[in-house]
């Protein structure tokens, strides 16, 4: 049975990257606890719009945990504290209690400038992906699915890496603003498969170079990223990226 809860929400307002930004605060009353976090924000925005105030801006799209568009740093943790790994859109109000103060902030990292309120510009991730996160395939007939045999274990491992949705929570949580968990997951999803091997060295170098160029920090292995990743990517991926990168550099 759903019960209703009332709480205070503190949400971040910021007019573009140059604005200093500030919190605004509002009491929310009788919200059913089977409401999702984003639906709760929809209710907040309806109230604001009805009062003629400016609504609160935040990113979202699929609302089912697969697109990587939702963000939000909720009560000190990216995507809120969901022990099992889930995105903000999969967070429900039953995780909160009557009388709570819920603080909502944007990803704060130099490479992710604020566009408005809690919507940040994550196009840096797309640029890294475009630098090498693909396999070059000639057009023509597709190969038979069983032409290249891949051990189940490798396929599973590659799939686990490919589930990274590029949300940027890893960067948001990192005290160094490092994107290594994201980049290593994207490098790993190809490095583990035979189709990815021919371009593996080139890919690792190009994606790391792009990541550095865009101003992400250096990894010092604090593990904050893997603690908050909604897709449970692990720093074993980072070790793999380091391996791929060093191999590529040594071969030069």
């Amino acid at each position: 049975m759903a019960k209703n809860i009332s709480f205070t929400i503190k949400y971040w307002k910021q007019n573009g990257p140059k604005d200093a930004g500030h919190f605004e605060q509002r009491e929310m009353h009788n919200i059913p606890d089977d409401t999702s976090f984003l639906e709760m924000l929809d209710i907040l925005n309806e109230e604001l719009i009805n009062e003629g105030k400016e609504p609160f801006t935040f990113d979202h799209d699929c609302r089912e945990g697969i697109c990587g568009m939702c963000s939000l740093y909720i009560n000190g943790t990216p995507h809120g504290k969901t022990a099992t790994g889930a995105t903000t859109c999969q967070l429900y109000m039953r995780k909160f209690n009557d009388g709570d103060v819920i603080t909502v902030e944007p990803w704060r990292s130099a490479a992710f400038p604020v566009i408005k309120d809690c919507m940040v510009d994550r196009s840096a991730f797309d640029k890294i992906q475009a630098a090498g996160g693909y396999v070059t395939v000639r057009t023509g007939q597709p190969q038979d699915a069983n032409a290249i045999l891949i051990p189940k274990q490798d396929a599973d491992e590659a799939m686990d890496c490919a589930t990274c949705i590029g949300c940027g929570a890893c960067v948001a949580a990192c005290k160094n603003g490092s994107a290594m968990l994201y980049v290593s997951s994207k490098v790993s999803q190809f490095a583990l498969l035979p189709q990815g091997r021919p371009e593996a060295a080139k890919r690792a170098k190009a994606m790391v170079a792009k990541m550095d160029e865009l101003g992400f920090g250096n990894c010092t292995n604090t593990r904050a990223c893997e603690a908050v990743c909604p897709k449970n990517e692990t720093i074993a991926n980072i070790a793999r990226l380091n391996r791929e990168f060093l191999k590529a550099k040594l071969a030069d």
Binding site: G76, A110, A239
Partner: protein
């Protein structure tokens, strides 16, 4: 960072092994000191070591500055540190600075009175009428001062924290880690760091508590 760190760990291992000799035998220890006096190879090794520390420290400064810039100017109002994130991992630079300060004190206490004295005046330490070859006497003299003993212990604790993270971090950075090896490397690192630091600490404690003379019956 990782390569210079590992090299420093290897040096520390050698240094710790050498130090425990002082627990057992004054002559044995002073023989080592003689060997590591102002010979060309000992001086060369000292210079190489200084270069290693410099590389490690300069890289640490550059990376830390880059990382602060990447973090950006705005800070979270509420921040909840995940349980997985160890304290040492987030404070490597501060710990490193403590280690360097300890190192400077250590150089002043020992290197200045031994290798430097030997090169400068032919073998007289600047304290307590000791010979620059009498490492054992120098240890006993230094740790008879409780202030030095406490400072050295603080230094060792900082180094322990630095190494508990640094050890596995270096393996991770060099790519020799994974889902299975991560826990193994981390455990080995904790054991290694603990044994290493205890080897240093026991020498400090023995000389601090009883000038090196008390437990001769127990430890030879």
């Amino acid at each position: 960072m990782s390569v210079s760190g590992v090299a420093l760990i290897l040096f520390l291992t050698f240094h710790a092994c050498m130090n425990v000799v002082a627990l057992f035998s004054a002559e044995g220890y002073n023989m080592i000191c003689e060997m590591l006096g102002a010979n060309w190879y000992a001086v060369a090794a000292t210079l190489a070591l200084a270069a290693l520390v410099a590389v490690h420290f300069i890289y640490a400064i550059i990376l830390t500055l880059q990382n602060r810039k990447a973090r950006g100017a705005s800070r979270y109002a509420v921040s909840d540190k995940p349980a997985k994130v160890e304290w040492a991992a987030q404070n490597m630079f501060v710990l490193g600075v403590i280690v360097i300060l300890g190192m400077l004190l250590h150089l002043y206490n020992f290197w200045y009175n031994m290798m430097f004295a030997e090169m400068a005046n032919g073998g007289y330490a600047y304290v307590n009428d000791l010979s620059a070859h009498d490492g054992y006497g120098m240890i006993a003299y230094t740790f008879s001062n409780p202030v030095y003993s406490v400072l050295y212990l603080v230094w060792l604790v900082a180094l322990w924290f630095h190494l508990t993270h640094g050890f596995w971090s270096a393996f991770q950075t060099l790519g020799w880690s994974g889902k299975i090896w991560f826990n193994r490397v981390k455990t080995i690192g904790y054991v290694y760091a603990t044994v290493l630091i205890l080897m240093f600490a026991v020498v400090v404690l023995k000389f601090a508590l009883c000038g090196g003379a008390c437990c001769t019956g127990i430890c030879g």
